[in-house]
């Protein structure tokens, strides 16, 4: 993709490709704790049906995934595995932190074994608050992520510039900002 990362792509084509990317996101099956069941309800249940949003919750390998939903408590023992799975994902990649545990530790804020926030490990694009969030909240997070992808500068994303931590403000579903 030499044209893309040099930033010489016509705007119309960039928009078209962004549109395509936003509606063909492959979500890695990554269940950690309670939120994984709500994520399962959002992904596999006929009532919520995430595929109508153009999200394909099928890949069982991180190497095929564009998006990962960190659904649940990340413990200190699990943290190296989380980091390793994230590193295996190809660029461009996005992270949704689902639930209070992944956001900040949640009810385990004073536990000795829980990592207080997955954003200490990997950069997070969308925070979905709740314990656990309803499936609708996760779908809202995915819609917000799609809107962000549509307005993305592909050249910078392809060069990996925007995957640095603190690169830009993450979105919080339901308003609010990250302290």
């Amino acid at each position: 993709m030499g044209l893309v990362d040099r930033g010489r792509m016509p705007g119309a084509i960039e928009k078209l490709m962004n549109l395509g990317r936003s509606y063909s996101m492959w979500v890695y099956q990554w269940g950690l704790a309670c939120c994984a069941i709500e994520m399962g309800a959002a992904f596999a249940s006929p009532r919520y049906d995430v595929m109508r949003l153009g999200v394909i919750p099928l890949p069982a390998s991180p190497r095929q995934a564009d998006l990962v939903v960190v659904s649940g408590t990340v413990t200190d023992k699990m943290a190296p595995a989380v980091l390793r799975l994230y590193d295996q994902m190809p660029e461009p990649k996005y992270v949704i932190s689902m639930g209070s545990c992944a956001n900040c530790g949640g009810p385990y804020w004073d536990s000795y074994s829980v990592t207080k926030g997955v954003d200490q490990l990997i950069p997070v694009d969308i925070y979905v608050p709740g314990c656990p969030p309803r499936p609708e909240a996760l779908l809202e997070g995915i819609v917000l992520l799609q809107q962000r992808i549509k307005h993305e500068d592909m050249a910078a994303k392809w060069r990996g510039e925007t995957t640095e931590p603190l690169r830009r403000e993450p979105i919080v579903v339901g308003g609010g900002n990250v302290a």
């Binding site: 269940g31 009532r47 023992k77």
Partner: protein, 390 residues
């Protein structure tokens, strides 16, 4: 091996002999396979290390702790009403059932008892969370065997039960509805009729799963005679719940012990299965779901009137003492040993969760099976990672 039929014993011996012959004919090299901690076929983050000889497991060891969140230590720095918020999340599929034994233990120490209506509503919610829990197990079981369809059925019909729980408690997953001395609130209007409708629906769901999965020839071929846990081994490893009943032990805490809940007032059958294989465990759980819908129906018929909250002090201080209460949770026996020193919060809480004991039999039962059966056996043992690691 003692409780198996002669046919089963013969087939087991024949299988062993065939394997021995194969190993002589084909020299195979040992290999260590690591399943997890993140694997689509595990419920959460269990890691299993298996040593293989060819395709046969010679040694297996589950590695726990990837979901250890330190419940027992956290309960020491919470007050009694706050603890229910935490223990909800141990077995996240049947959350309400986790609160009940803890609340009962605290009530036992305070020597108060919830009013009858509260006990009945507790039992209704308990059984509803059992249905929500096991119905997802039945759907997920298909996924583990490569059939995705039952999972859609499970998620479709589970929503109805979650809606019921939400209408009462305000939470789909983690109700945190139980209080020391009763419940936070009474049932909402129209709950009884709606619940009856949903229970009919869940029985239809059980029939569907019976046709689609349990009666399926491929499913039976994959599970019958696989992962046999004899009665004595099941008792030695401290299995409980459906895993124990599938090994032919007629043991159900709902029937066998007296707790201030409404199970004594309803009539239900405790299903057991003599085989002890993966199929038996799935079959017993299916029957239990059916039985739970009938229990809920009976409880709705005889729901007593009255208050849902006993008289308790505004600030709850539990007198010094020790209490142990366990109940028959969806996964098996779950109990809390609460030690109080008369403070606002417990001094120490020991949590006995069912999955930890259920998974401890894995090294025994996985020895000698083939790799595809590892997933089947683990799926049929049915564990929740939060319940193992706590």
């Amino acid at each position: 091996m003692t409780d198996l039929s002669e046919r089963q014993q013969l087939s087991y011996i024949a299988g062993q002999a065939a394997d021995a012959r194969l190993n002589v004919e084909l020299e195979t090299e040992g290999m260590t396979l690591n399943i997890g901690p993140q694997h689509p076929a595990t419920h959460g983050t269990l890691r299993i290390i298996v040593r293989l000889d060819g395709e046969q497991v010679v040694w297996a060891e589950p590695s726990c702790g990837y979901m250890h969140r330190g419940y027992e230590k956290l309960t020491e720095v919470r007050t009694y009403p706050q603890v229910t918020t935490l223990v909800n999340r141990i077995d996240w599929l049947g959350s309400f059932a986790n609160e009940v034994p803890f609340i009962l233990a605290a009530e036992k120490l305070m020597e108060i008892e919830a009013p009858p209506r509260a006990q009945w509503i507790r039992t209704i919610l308990f059984e509803l969370s059992r249905i929500a829990n096991i119905s997802l197990f039945l759907g997920d079981l298909g996924v583990q065997l490569g059939a995705v369809t039952p999972a859609f059925f499970a998620f479709r019909d589970r929503e109805h039960v979650l809606n019921l729980i939400e209408s009462v408690t305000g939470g789909r997953f983690h109700p945190n509805f139980d209080r020391i001395g009763g419940l936070k609130d009474d049932l909402p209007k129209g709950f009884v009729d709606e619940t009856r409708r949903v229970m009919r629906k869940m029985r239809t769901y059980c029939d569907e799963i019976d046709d689609l999965l349990i009666g399926n020839e491929i499913f039976q071929a994959r599970t019958r005679g696989v992962g046999i846990i004899p009665k004595d081994v099941a008792l030695q490893y401290g299995l409980s719940g459906a895993n124990l009943r599938a090994s032919g032990v007629d043991w159900d805490l709902r029937r066998d012990q007296v707790v201030p809940m409404a199970w004594d007032d309803v009539d239900f059958k405790v299903w057991t299965h003599p085989d002890g294989d993966s199929f038996a465990r799935c079959w017993v759980r299916l029957q239990e779901t059916r039985e739970a819908t009938k229990i809920v129906d009976q409880l709705l018929d005889g729901l007593p009137a009255g208050p849902v909250m006993a008289k308790v002090p505004r600030i709850i201080k539990v007198p010094a003492g020790e209490a142990w209460v366990s109940t028959e949770n969806p996964l098996g026996e779950m109990g809390y040993y609460v030690v109080s020193k008369g403070d606002l919060g417990p001094f120490r809480v020991k949590i006995r969760s069912a999955s930890f004991n259920n998974i401890s039999v894995a090294p025994w039962v996985l020895r000698g099976v083939y790799v595809p059966d590892v997933i089947t056996i683990l799926a049929s043992l049915y564990f929740i990672l939060g319940d193992i690691d706590r």
